[in-house]
């Protein structure tokens, strides 16, 4: 988006009217939203203004930082060693805006905005953890992803990215005691009391190894009997530095890493990354590639929702459904494996298209799956969702309103379960979704039951989309005709020496993308997933910011669980549908 159209954006005009012309520096980007540099002092007031304006920006969608010190292409941007950015989302306007604040190395401090947007809490902790930027006024600024004993701030450019840059790791008995001591939960640090007049609280450590924690997730409960007075989620046990790895992998070779972020989502993770890279490279993909991508993404949505359904019901104590949903997932994987050659992590999307064309006879395999699923979904509904015990356990449990959901950054089926009609596939169609006919299922209560029911209905809609893919698959090439697609077409390699050199460079270094910033969001299996890429005109990304839906979903747990019982918490955990790799990255 050029700077010119941005200055006429109603939000920019409103901000200029309120704060003056010089309060903003508009940065042109490929993000599709106004990116505005603002002064640190006016940030809090601006956020409050945007939150409270008519058709407000209800959600702080993302908050992170960039280490700008090694960035070469910064023409026209304010001087900065570090940049903190605030990505706001308005459901009522269906628009985004991003505010950026420049910081100098000697003065790495920001005012905390937790009082404006509650969900800034974890994001600010993450920025402190990763960049060492202080947030003044934050209620509990502690490390969140790294161990409490960690030295340094990993996303700073001077921090090593490879194991070979460090001394070999050793752990002594004493060191182990220090590490374990650091993980000891001290209620006072969290402003929690150990007792009240009549009773002493029990602090129950749930996880990181617990059958219902859905991965390495720890939750410390403050219990009065079985009633949850308060709780503190503790994450980071699954942190693998996916964002840091983005800074040392070529644009192409980073694709398999994305698969492993939401590891039940498969190619759904490739989708936003590839879309963002294609925006930077200026690639327009073919119709066939679009439809293939949509078909596989929806296959993975079904596969992920089936896993959700099985474990959700298992967390309610029903042991059988999970075996049935895994049978269905196996059927889905047979289709996925037949097309991509892999099951969980196909890494099958490529810059400019897909890795291969669809195999011969794919229609029959996909149609077989489409014919199998509907009767199974009906069976799950009849045997489980209509069951009185399931309803007793899930109705009005861990319920929240649309307002709360937006304030906490909740997206995806969990947001739609509250009745909010916000599905990116409809509201901001990407990757060809505008061509498909489907409905967006909504809930009404925003409770555990609705979150389950919405997902069952979403599977039906996904089946509808896949059916349309099978019926109307366009002919043509599965890859765009563009010099920056990866891998470069082999048939053009052996024409003459120039083509050989080009091919060699494209394969060994990978494509070089123009400097710029781009962002792509998709409606992933668990909510909105986006990649915010900064290119510095290199073969690798300068900064890869991955915004995952599960991170804010976990942050919200204490807000909905206070006053609930332990079994309610387990039901709620099951209904969130998170995987820890999607939280910790």
């Amino acid at each position: 988006m050029s700077a010119d159209t941005l200055t006429h954006d109603p939000v920019v005009i409103a901000l200029r009217q309120r704060f003056g012309d010089h309060a903003l520096v508009v940065q042109p980007t490929h993000t599709g939203m106004p990116v505005l540099w603002v002064a640190r002092e006016s940030l809090g007031e601006m956020l409050r203004f945007l939150r409270d304006m008519p058709d407000p920006f209800e959600m702080l969608y993302d908050l992170s930082a960039v280490d700008e010190r090694l960035r070469a292409h910064r023409r026209g941007l304010p001087e900065a060693d570090f940049t903190v950015f605030y990505h706001l989302l308005s459901v009522s306007r269906n628009r985004d805006v991003m505010l950026k604040v420049a910081l100098r190395e000697g003065d790495l401090a920001m005012p905390s905005v937790v009082s404006v947007y509650a969900c800034a809490n974890w994001y600010e902790r993450e920025v402190w953890d990763m960049f060492g930027i202080d947030f003044i006024g934050h209620p509990h600024l502690a490390r969140i992803l790294m161990p409490p004993t960690w030295q340094g701030h990993p996303l700073r450019k001077e921090h090593g990215a490879r194991a070979t840059e460090f001394d070999p790791y050793t752990l002594t008995v004493q060191g182990q005691e220090v590490e374990q001591g650091a993980l000891q939960f001290k209620p006072e640090e969290w402003g929690m009391r150990r007792e009240r007049e009549s009773a002493e609280f029990m602090f129950l450590n749930l996880g990181p190894n617990h059958p219902s924690a859905h991965g390495a997730f720890r939750l410390v409960l403050q219990l009065d009997g079985e009633e949850i007075v308060d709780c503190v989620p503790d994450i980071g046990y699954h942190h693998r530095g996916a964002e840091k790895m983005g800074e040392r992998q070529s644009w192409h070779s980073y694709i398999p890493y994305t698969d492993r972020v939401d590891y039940t989502g498969g190619v759904m993770n490739n989708f936003p990354y590839i879309l963002a890279v294609e925006k930077l490279a200026g690639i327009e993909v073919t119709e066939r590639a679009k439809v293939i991508r949509v078909m596989l993404a929806e296959m993975f949505r079904i596969s992920s929702h089936l896993l959700f359904l099985g474990t959700y019901l298992q967390d309610l104590g029903a042991m059988t459904p999970v075996f049935f949903t895994f049978t269905d997932r196996q059927k889905a994987y047979e289709v996925i494996e037949g097309i991509t050659g892999f099951r969980m992590h196909p890494a099958w999307f490529r810059i400019g298209g897909t890795a291969m064309d669809l195999p011969n006879g794919w229609e029959t395999v996909v149609q077989g799956f489409l014919d199998w699923m509907p009767k199974r979904l009906r069976e799950y509904e009849r045997s489980m969702m209509d069951n009185a015990i399931v309803r007793e356990r899930t109705r009005h449990v861990a319920a929240y309103t649309t307002h709360d959901a937006l304030a906490w950054g909740v997206t995806g089926p969990n947001l739609r379960a509250t009745g909010c009609n916000f599905d990116l596939r409809k509201q901001r169609p990407y990757g060809g979704y505008e061509q498909f006919d489907f409905e967006v299922p909504l809930g009404g209560q925003g409770d555990v039951f609705d979150r389950g029911q919405v997902r069952i209905e979403e599977m039906r809609q996904s089946l509808r989309i896949i059916q349309q893919c099978v019926d109307h698959m366009p002919a043509g090439d599965y890859k765009a005709d563009h010099p920056l697609t990866t891998p470069p077409p082999r048939e053009r390699m052996l024409q003459h020496i120039e083509t050989l050199i080009t091919h060699f460079l494209q394969v060994s270094w990978g494509p070089v993308l123009e400097p710029g910033e781009s962002l792509a969001m998709v409606e992933a299996t668990k909510g909105i997933n986006s990649y915010y890429l900064t290119s510095d005109g290199n073969t690798m990304s300068y900064r890869t910011r991955i915004r995952t839906p599960s991170f804010p979903h976990l942050q919200q747990i204490p807000a909905v669980m206070r006053g609930g019982f332990v079994p309610d918490l387990i039901a709620h955990l099951g209904s969130i549908d998170f995987v820890m790799a999607d939280v910790d990255r």
Binding site: M202, D315, L316, G317, A318, M319, T320, R393, P567, I570
Partner: protein, 326 residues
């Protein structure tokens, strides 16, 4: 060989019978672990254990060998005495309850006049195993499990006794053999249907079988009160659960379904068939139902089952008085 005196022969036979029944119940408990896993496999579209012996029939032997040779670990933070005592109580109280069950007209360990009361007493003692186990483990999950067990068992024991009083009133005795004999014309399940239903529910609750497995609640409490137990101590809890299932099934058969009575087949076969049917019901419940919340279980017990048993008892008493005024 000299003929042994008459009373000695009688007591030897009784001891032999007792030994056979004890062994039989234990073996049955062990075999049931396999049966349950195979049945669950059948219902869940999978195989279940099918590698050891023909159709996996010897899996339970392998499991027993394994569990006997596991390290028997007592956590250093546990209260040793109670920790060791708890599984013993779990096993003993349930096995002792079997004394009162008449398998056939001639088989059975003891013919007590207070048969039914003896069972209720033993069921009461059985709670201690869970309480001791949960308390002495020094583990918060175990403690929560024990708390749930105490609350649940207390509430359900209130009406487990009351639900049986209708049967007692109709048979006019606590003696199990006489209760069976009283069902010659009509099984008590017909006139005592409410009693049967509530006893079934309470029986499941007392044995901590799903959906009333609150004290264990794998998804919530990670196995609850026996989370710290290993080896045969765990095995005793585990086997105790199956023995409990057999006991409740046998009691239901004896009290409501005419015990060993039935045409054509020998009495023991009838008894075994009926008991087996209830064992399968126990397993089917586990396979098919989710777990209600702990407070919902309690509410169901106090607000629904208890009034139902009281009404049942009142109506039964009134009808008996009407039919046969004193």
């Amino acid at each position: 060989m000299n003929a042994l005196p008459e009373p000695l022969v009688a007591s030897l036979i009784a001891m032999l019978q007792a030994g056979v029944i004890l062994l039989g119940v234990l073996l049955l408990g062990a075999v049931l672990t396999l049966v349950e896993r195979r049945l669950l496999g059948l219902w869940q579209d999978r195989h279940g254990p099918n590698r050891v012996g023909p159709f996996g029939a010897l899996q339970w032997v392998a499991d027993m060998i394994k569990i006997f040779f596991k390290e028997d670990w007592i956590p250093p933070f546990a209260d040793r005495t109670l920790f060791v005592l708890a599984p013993a109580i779990a096993m003993a109280s349930l096995l002792l309850s079997f004394m009162i069950i008449p398998l056939t007209p001639s088989w059975g360990v003891a013919n007590l006049h207070i048969g039914l009361l003896f069972f209720l007493a033993m069921a009461g003692i059985n709670v201690y195993s869970v309480l001791f186990g949960g308390w002495s483990s020094g583990n918060k999950y175990a403690l929560l499990g024990a708390m749930r067990a105490a609350a649940q068992t207390l509430s359900y024991e209130v009406f487990i006794g009351l639900s049986l009083m209708g049967v007692v009133a109709m048979a006019g005795t606590f003696n199990m053999r006489e209760i069976v004999a009283a069902q010659e014309d009509l099984w008590f399940v017909v006139p005592q249907f409410l009693g049967f239903m509530t006893f079934l529910v309470a029986g499941i609750a007392v044995t901590h079988r799903p959906p009333f497995d609150q004290p264990e609640a794998e998804q919530e409490l990670a196995d609850g009160y026996h989370v710290e137990y290993s080896s045969m101590k765990f095995g005793m809890f585990f086997l105790g659960e199956y023995v409990g299932m057999v006991l409740i099934s046998a009691l239901i058969v004896t009290l409501f379904f005419g015990g060993w009575q039935g045409p054509w087949l020998p009495p023991f076969v009838w008894f075994a068939l009926k008991t087996g049917a209830f064992l399968v019901l126990f397993m089917l419940l586990r396979a098919s139902l989710p777990r209600p919340r702990y407070d919902q279980v309690m509410r169901f017990g106090w607000m629904f089952c208890l009034p139902l048993t009281l009404i049942n008892l009142l109506v039964t008493g009134a009808l008996i008085l009407l039919a046969d005024p004193l």
